[in-house]
């Protein structure tokens, strides 16, 4: 699963799994944090290309990473988010802190 994390310059790219729930979320959060600390990335990009299901655990993953990097000026991005994921980000208010890209 480590191939789901890639560092490009000072960006961490996280390829989100097909199903994002609590069972899967700690793995993603812990590994993302490892990269943030060890590789000194500034920004995190969450790629939802493969994601077919997400519950509020996904919101927790994004929010937690945002809290870690925003104090140093880091930004959080979401790419390839389908309508449903955008809607979930919206009702959570996360569209205010996550840049949703086409």
């Amino acid at each position: 699963m480590m191939e789901n994390f890639k560092v490009i310059d000072n960006y961490l790219m996280v390829r989100m799994p097909e199903e994002i729930d609590h069972h899967k979320s700690s793995y993603i959060s812990e590994n993302a944090d490892k990269f943030i600390v060890q590789e000194k990335v500034d920004h995190v990009v969450f790629d939802f290309e493969d994601t077919k299901f997400m519950d509020s655990s996904g919101i927790g993953i994004i929010l937690g990473r945002y809290k870690k990097i925003s104090c140093f000026g880091g930004k959080v991005f979401a790419i390839n988010a389908d309508n449903r994921i955008r809607h979930l980000l919206m009702i959570s208010g996360l569209h205010k802190i996550v840049e949703i890209m086409e």
């Binding site: 069972h23 927790g60 009702i91």
Partner: protein
Amino acid sequence: MKNEMKMEFDAISANEAFARVAVAAFVSELDPTLEEVSDIKTAVSEAVTNAIIHGYDGIEGGKVNIRCLIEQDVLHVEVMDKGNGIEDIEKAMEPLFTTKPELNRSGMGFPFMEAFMDDLEVLSVAGEGTTVIMKKKIGCIPWIEDEE
């Protein structure tokens, strides 16, 4: 149309996916849209996750119970645990309120259940457990009566 199903399973996180898939499979006789299926899966996932991590603090040994009832075109879902219970239900249901931020919880579980189901009721007694009762009307009744 009437159909009832009950299940009981170990309060471990591997069963979150099982529970939402099972409820989605149960409701498929109502011919829900993909969107309705996602709504139901999300709501069930939230309630079951809460039972596991808040009700039982992630400690193995507890059981989660789900009861589903289809009455005409309405799905009723109850998710029960015999865990910690909730002291202040009103506060617990506020968006972004969570008692486990250290576990990357977002406090959006109840708000998602409210957003995706037509009706949400939370019964809880501190020290005894929690029951979440949800309802959702499924849009389109299939236009042909199912054979048998």
